[in-house]
Point group: C2
Chain length 338, copies 2
């Protein structure tokens, strides 16, 4: 697999490419299948459907990697914080106000609850083309903590940050619990047949700078170290979104094989300053893909040029948005693969 070979140190002629949320609402075949389940969590926990949805963009575009169709909020759900997806609002959870409101399951029960994800991984791996990598993933502790404490998404993360300042010991305890479940969830996916693991810390940028080393870097380091101790050798892509040049200090401490860059990262800076053994992934603005045409062509050419001297995975800087015309994805692939 060109994708895992790259992550394991081999150079590639052209960057392999996949797209965050490539199985998603911009695809008519996804929207069609999604109608078959009322509840988004049930949809994620149906191995046949999750497999089918994961395969859809591979059939259409032959991406170099697929990512198992799942959601970072399955972990909160699995530890007893019911998650509901309200159209137009997004995910809604009951707001965690103290850690003793959690009824923490043991790891066997936790893995049993998430077994459908493992089954989906196994089924998808069996049905994917041999050369296509399969990525398993989890949200990172801080990002999950924001959903738990804010009771959903947030613009300012004031409640989660209030926890960090007002309840530092309780916050750390919560992050430790989450970290252990995340290791368990990633292990489950690795054992089920995933080829690569990815850690999404979508709201890493919402941690005040003076707490970043503890809350982001520290827990990512711990998760990777725990995975290695458990014998998981798969390459790991980390996505601490929103860290900007803070990625330098981060990547010097966290032993991931690849770092995903959002579109707010100065890519020239990243290519010149991040450790050279690190694969860099990114970083087209998803809204540039919506636009397409000459504007996108120039941006894509710049990305390819900037990363031409290092190992690079082409991707967006965040998930593809629902209003993206599917033909722009084909256009993008033609540009990268030409």
């Amino acid at each position: 697999m060109i994708f895992t070979d790259l992550l394991n140190g081999k150079k590639a002629d052209k960057p392999p490419v996949w797209i965050m949320r490539q199985a998603g609402r911009y695809l008519p075949e996804y929207r069609e299948l999604r109608k078959s389940a009322d509840n988004f969590i049930d949809f994620c926990l149906n191995p046949a459907k999750a497999c089918e949805v994961t395969l859809q963009p591979i059939r259409r575009y032959n991406f170099d990697a697929s990512i198992i169709f799942s959601d970072i909020l399955l972990v909160p759900h699995a530890i007893g914080r019911e998650v509901k997806f309200i159209p137009g609002t997004g995910p809604v959870l009951s707001k965690l106000t103290a850690i003793n409101e959690l009824s923490l399951p043991d790891f066997d029960d936790f893995q049993n609850f998430l077994k459908p994800v493992a089954d989906a991984v196994t089924l998808t791996r069996a049905n994917l083309p041999k050369e296509t990598a399969l990525i398993g993933f989890s949200g990172a502790p801080w990002t999950l903590m924001t959903y738990l404490t804010e009771g959903g998404g947030s613009r300012d993360f004031n409640t989660a940050r209030d926890w960090l300042w007002s309840k530092p010991a309780e916050s750390e305890k919560l992050l430790h619990h989450l970290s252990d479940y995340i290791v368990s969830f990633l292990t489950l996916q690795a054992n089920a047949g995933a080829n690569v693991l990815m850690l999404f810390d979508s709201w890493a940028g919402a941690v005040p700078a003076s707490q970043r080393t503890k809350i982001i870097t520290g827990f990512h380091k711990k998760i990777i170290s725990d995975l290695r101790s458990a014998g998981i050798k798969l390459p790991i892509i980390s996505f601490p979104k929103g860290l900007s040049e803070g990625l330098k200090a981060y990547s010097e401490k966290v032993e991931c094989q690849a770092l995903a860059l959002d579109h707010y990262v100065d890519r020239r800076w990243a290519a010149d300053n991040l450790r050279t053994d690190l694969v860099l992934q990114g970083n087209l603005d998803p809204l540039c893909l919506v636009s397409g045409g000459q504007v996108m062509k120039r941006e894509v050419e710049e990305i390819l040029e900037v990363f031409s001297n290092r190992r690079h995975i082409f991707n967006l800087g965040h998930g593809i948005v629902p209003q993206t015309p599917p033909e722009h994805v084909a256009e993008l692939l033609a540009l990268i693969r030409s």
Copy 2:
């Protein structure tokens, strides 16, 4: 005035201090007066009330600077995009979809519409203690463009970013118009008696990195240059929020006298890397002020220590939040002034 002296190059024994949104909902006397007007825009455009509200935190805490009570959305309002503030939702505007939907007023009409702000500045200056500086301000072009195109606040700024990619020429034209009105608004406040001007680009961080120089740095540079050409000599504080280490390139091009740092900026990096003639303002997390106590004390001491070798204004990294206990502000001032 210690505040303007500092901005003009003099050193100070202790950093002067003020707080973004210091006239605001955390103060019971503010909430009381706010009841006297239904409409937030009317409240801002009432010189007597705006003056009174501006003075409230000065009476209570004797900050070194006051900021005229007003709102960055007065500019969109003044150019014909009615702004409504819906409790629990925030500002709502009708969504701009093309530049020809704007009926751009001439500058006399624009300044006439905003004359109540000038009157509030004059009245406040007359009533402030002599040693307290008065800051006039405006939102910056990009941030105003986000409100216009998103029709209010946003979590992801997808519509505004879509403009940048899909309508680059129209976006630039819009930013040019806004830039000219902003210069006019700041000139009005300078002529009315403001001692310092401040430019808020609250969502600067939402511009993709590859467009930042054009959309943020370029327009800030232009606004300051236009103000200087118009004979406005007041010191200028710029707040391009969310730029992280991008502040270095920014501050090498933009000739502001002070740079406000949000709490996501690594303050040690800022103290060591930004041009030494620049006053740095910031950067306590507003949520740390909500917490107060020992946790805040440690953070404040770190801030004072980090900036002890350069000219520094103490402030938060963003506006004070409504749930802040007013006694924590007194606690903060005691720490800084002790």
